[in-house]
């Protein structure tokens, strides 16, 4: 029984990071109606960023998070200008294909340079032990940092002028333009933030599990499952759904092989997409259909 509890708690910790990753997607979707299919590549970029920084400079992994956040932000702005800017206002499928193509390019380059070898970032952090069960220090740290980053995002959105502008553009881009908000800059900023979230979540995942260049696709899929469960465009929902998914995996792994949990997750993904456009969060809550 205690073992199950430990598994659940651990699932929550890891799930928090999934939630962070999903926040990256849902944020971009909410602000500019774009599904960022480069998300996976950016997660991988974060993973390799941490690896390379640690290997090159020997700094502790967590110190690398700040440069990765910044680099991720810049990459996001670049992504906006390369692939998304011309697609704003066009059918959403076009931006889908555009970001998808950038993902192809990046993953292709990645496999060319690093192949499909497993990489690892070693972090030594004392864990927290309760009786026979140890919660890895890395898991706890990742969850704590997720909370910090999510909190920072919240503060940005609700306590700063720029954040207010972002919320305005998310609500109604044309109206925001009419009141003088420089929408293009805000869109680029939001894209930067979304990608920064992806990159930093990748960095955190790298401290938890080994990875390859191809892990990006798997985590991107996972992020999408979480995003859909939490309701697209809803960052809080994404975080909650991430925790829920982590909980589910913690619950299920002792009892069934990993691939079955995958089946359940993907079936749930499709079912929620069809039946609950507002995500599982919207069950029981009457929310107006915005889109």
């Amino acid at each position: 029984m205690l073992g199950l509890l430990a598994s659940l708690v651990d699932g929550l910790l890891v799930g928090a990071v999934y939630g962070l990753a999903a926040m990256g997607i849902t944020f971009i979707w909410g602000v500019m109606d774009v599904v960022n299919l480069t998300h996976g590549a950016m997660i991988v970029a974060g993973m390799f960023g941490v690896y390379l920084l640690v290997a090159a400079t020997g700094v502790p992994a967590y110190a690398a998070l700040v440069p990765i956040l910044i680099a991720g932000f810049l990459a996001g702005v670049a992504l906006y200008w390369i692939a998304i800017h011309r697609m704003i206002g066009r059918p959403p499928l076009m931006s889908l294909l555009a970001t998808f193509s950038v993902n192809l390019v990046l993953i292709g380059l990645g496999t060319a340079v690093w192949g499909t070898v497993l990489f690892n970032v070693s972090v030594s952090l004392p864990g927290f032990s309760l009786g026979r069960y140890t919660f890895p220090g890395t898991h706890i740290m990742a969850a704590v940092l997720t909370a910090v980053i999510a909190g920072a995002l919240y503060l940005f959105l609700y306590r700063t002028r720029a954040g207010k502008a972002v919320r305005a553009v998310a609500a109604n881009r044309e109206a925001a333009e009419l009141v003088g908000i420089p929408t293009t800059r805000i869109l680029a900023l939001s894209c930067g933030l979304g990608v920064a979230l992806a990159a930093v979540s990748g960095a955190l995942i790298a401290t938890l599990f080994p990875f390859t260049v191809l892990s990006g696709d798997a985590y991107q899929l996972k992020s999408f499952v979480v995003t859909v469960l939490g309701g697209m465009g809803n960052p809080t929902g994404a975080l909650v759904a991430g925790l829920a998914l982590g909980l589910f995996e913690g619950l299920a792994t002792p009892f069934m092989p990993v691939s079955w949990t995958l089946v359940i997750e993907f079936v749930l993904f499709v079912v929620v997409l069809i039946a609950f456009p507002g995500g599982l969060i919207s069950i029981g809550r009457r929310r107006p259909a915005v889109r």
């Binding site: 599904v35 390369i82 692939a83 011309r86 697609m87 059918p91 959403p92 499928l93 076009m94 889908l96 294909l97 555009a98 998808f100 193509s101 950038v102 993902n103 192809l104 390019v105 990046l106 993953i107 292709g108 380059l109 496999t111 060319a112 899929l221 999408f224 499952v225 859909v228 092989p257 691939s259 079955w260 995958l262 089946v263 993907f266 079936v267 993904f269 499709v270 997409l273 069809i274 456009p277």
Partner: protein, 319 residues
């Protein structure tokens, strides 16, 4: 119908595929076989993408399921090639109808994501499904080639069957486009709500198109994996192939019939060149990505769109 030039252009294309490797050029045959597979996948994808405007990211699921059904029927149940292919085609179309009923309520982006979800769910399921070999897959014994006259001859038969499937795909695209059904699909692609208001029975039409777009790729998958005598989840449901099908369709020009064929040919050539070139061996997906990005941003109508704008008279000959 027989009076229209394009009908004959398709016939000629099929004839070229049939005649070119005669004389035993195995290398050419293999490369044409791959082209035929691409053209089949892209043409059928076009029914949803180019006509109805629905991007099916996970279209590979039809190809993979078709492969699995066929290999299973022949390997474990001892069926002959023809019945195995036929039943696989029907089975996958029915499965598509069932999936479609669910996911076709979604539009645009949500639909695209759902098709990926379907593919991944099927892949994850098959990986666990013991009767189909789980994650190791199914191997076919070489004896199965005997009824076809031995392995070497079997490969030729498979090639011609695939060319026939490719031809069927092109003709299917053609006849659909010129039919009332096709007009309905095209109007859905332009403005689904306005189409419904005009009386187009949108749910039925979309489901039909989705199911129809599964049939020939399923048979092609059956042939392809029978030829390799081996099928496993990672290959059967690899999103790379459906990705390439999308790139091909958009490169050539979605909504046209020549488009997927032209795009497939060009992409095949490009890929072949990249694979043999020292520097670019790993870069095929990178090139695909760059191509797609450029097409989506600057030429969403693809090559045929460009040609039609430059020389409008071409529209009267080609479709």
């Amino acid at each position: 119908m027989l009076g229209r030039p394009f009908f004959w252009i398709i016939a000629v294309t099929i004839a070229v595929f049939a005649a070119a490797p005669l004389g035993g050029n195995v290398e050419l045959r293999e490369s044409l076989l791959l082209a035929a597979v691409y053209i089949t996948l892209a043409s059928n994808l076009n029914l949803m993408l180019g006509y109805a405007g629905y991007v099916n990211f996970g279209s590979i699921v039809f190809f993979g399921l078709g492969g699995y059904f066929c290999v299973y029927f022949m390997g474990s149940l001892g069926w002959g090639l023809a019945p195995a292919l036929a039943v696989s085609g029907v089975a996958v179309s029915l499965a598509a109808l069932v999936f479609g009923l669910g996911i076709l309520r979604l539009r645009g982006v949500h639909f695209a994501l759902a098709t990926i979800g379907v593919n991944e769910a099927v892949q994850a399921f098959v990986t666990n499904f013991e009767p189909w070999g789980g994650s190791t897959g199914i191997y076919l014994s070489p004896e199965l080639f005997q009824p076809l006259g031995g392995p070497a001859q079997a490969l030729w038969i498979i090639y011609y069957l695939l060319v026939a499937i490719m031809g069927a795909s092109l003709y299917l695209s053609y006849f659909v486009k010129r039919s009332k059904f096709g007009l309905g699909l095209l109007s859905i692609g332009q403005n689904e709500d306005a189409a419904a208001v005009l009386g187009v029975p949108t749910p039925r039409y979309k489901a039909l198109a989705y199911s129809a777009s599964a049939f020939l790729p399923a048979i092609a998958g059956g042939l392809y994996f029978f030829k390799g005598a081996f099928v496993q989840p990672a290959d059967a449901f690899d999103l790379t192939l459906s990705t390439e099908a999308i790139v091909i369709t958009m490169l050539g020009g979605q909504g046209t019939i020549v488009g997927p064929a032209l795009g497939a040919y060009l992409y095949e050539e490009l890929r072949g060149w990249l694979l043999t070139s020292e520097t670019f061996a790993n870069f095929q997906l990178v090139v695909a990505g760059v191509l797609l990005l450029l097409i989506v941003q600057f030429a969403p109508d693809g090559l045929m769109g460009f040609f039609y704008r430059r020389w409008p008279r071409l529209r009267r000959i080609f479709e």
